[in-house]
Amino acid sequence: MFKIFQRLWQVNWAEQWQYRANLIMYLLYWLVSPIIYLAVWTSIANSKGSVNGLTANDFTTYYMTLLIVDQITSNIVIHTFGYKIQDGTLAGELIRPIHPMLTNALVNNIAFKALTILGFIPIWIILFFLFKPDYGGVTLTGILLSIPAMILGFFISFLLSASITALAFWTTRVYSIHEFYYALVLLFSGQFVPLTLMPKVIQEIAQYLPFQLFLYYPVQLILGRLSSAQIVQGYGMGLIWLIVAITVFNLVWRNGVKRFSAVGA
């Protein structure tokens, strides 16, 4: 099994390395909106002293940390896998004795991340000197606690996106469905603003949804802004959603593959 993953890694790393110029462009895309939100909220906090108890530095550290967490928990499976179902290339992968999504696509995603992180580190350092966040409140415990949370967040996000991608077995409009899903992520994950500044209703709902586990929860863990009760609740939610995501994915995938008949087959 280990050997399979090792080989998959070599192949996928080489594949992603080919597109390194595109990766830089992708990085640029994905950096811009957190930086804009950072600028907007710090400007508001500076003019008022604080927003709802959050100072300008609280916003700076929030978005700077979010950039890192997002890099780890996000996935691109819809873009790398959706077309394989639609144009039938999946057929070739299905006859291999390994799961196309849970091995190949997963490793491909991780190789993609590893490469973007390489490009991201120098950019983050430059941003660090431009925005000068004060990370005084961060403890080692917080960082250690956040690592399993980020891994958990990544697997939940990967499995949910994989489930949506697998809807391509039924519909050609899977990209539109994914766009809708992305809007939910934007609303409930804390990408736009720390969830505590959201309307009460959204905060209440967000607690029980998986999306805050992608960004808000790990970020707050790193920054040490959660009580022990909140930390336990977050991990509890994470485990529940992991089980849900695994179940949903298996269900969608099994039924999908049964329906699948590739072009030319």
Binding site: M25, V32, I36, A39, V40, I44, S47, F180, P199
Partner: protein, 261 residues
């Protein structure tokens, strides 16, 4: 050659293409409404925590959102589809046929694909501008409205010219497939007044990739923040950038050798 006749023909072809995918068009419009809802909600969230951003009120940001969506529509409805076609034509050599036609090649390359249903987006954008201005009680005079309209047009021309320059670079560097990504990535910076941003970002989106010239500047004109001299200067920049862009395009064409030869 009659430009308006040609444009009408392009529109007709593109309407026919859109009609072939009716259901997709409906889904796209629904998603579009969803994103508008999200944009308004996000402004609502910001203004539930503050009264102004860098001196701008809620209504003014709604109006800015309207102007931003004009530029955004330009991006999605014109720049994006035509760039895709252009890059393809450089790769497979079909650019040769475009050049053989007795029409200005720059016009042909930049207007042959139009995502027509986005016209609806322009309509929404204008509503946002009008509603936003009414909400904010900004005092507008006929002069400031005229300046606003002229600045919006010249801002759009600046973006259009930058686009021409970016795709013309493909003539020199054939493998330059990402030619408009930088423009698209930085576009989001147009949602908020640039005065909010730290100096380096402000300089980047004002002078290097001048998104702000098409979004913040027209509204500054409307709010009466720009002297008439400044406003005229921005309009001249619009005209100047178009002249430069068409020169770059002409030079680029001379570099083009065709993929088949």
């Amino acid at each position: 050659m009659n430009v308006s006749k040609l444009l009408a023909a392009f529109l007709k072809v593109n309407v026919q293409m859109a009609m072939a995918y009716r259901a997709d068009t409906v889904v796209n419009i629904l998603l579009n409404i969803m994103w508008l809802g999200w944009e308004l909600l996000s402004l609502g969230i910001i203004f539930s925590n503050t009264d102004t951003i860098a001196g701008w009120k809620f209504g003014e940001l709604i109006a800015l959102l309207g102007v931003f969506r004009l530029v955004h529509t330009l991006m999605i409805a014109l720049i994006w589809p035509n760039t895709e076609k252009f890059n393809q034509s450089i790769r497979d050599g079909s650019m040769d046929y475009t050049l053989l036609q007795p029409v200005n090649s720059m016009f042909l390359v930049t207007f042959s694909r139009i995502t027509v249903w986005r016209a609806w987006d322009l309509f929404l954008a204008i509503i946002l501008v009008v509603v936003g201005i009414n909400m904010s009680n900004t005092i507008v005079s006929p002069l400031s409205i005229a300046i606003f309209i002229l600045l919006t047009i010249s801002g759009a021309i600046v973006i259009y010219s930058l686009w021409i320059v970016l795709i013309a670079l493909t003539f020199w560097f054939t493998k330059f497939d990402n030619n408009v990504t930088i423009l698209q990535a930085l576009l989001d910076a147009g949602r908020y007044p640039v005065t909010v941003y730290p100096a380096w970002l402000r300089i980047l989106v004002t002078f290097v990739i001048p998104i702000a010239v098409a979004t913040t500047v027209p509204l500054q004109g409307l709010r009466g923040e720009l002297s008439v001299g400044r406003a005229v200067l921005f309009m001249l920049i619009g005209a100047g950038s178009f002249l430069i862009a068409s020169q770059v395009w002409k030079r680029g064409l001379k570099q083009y050798s065709g993929a088949s030869s």
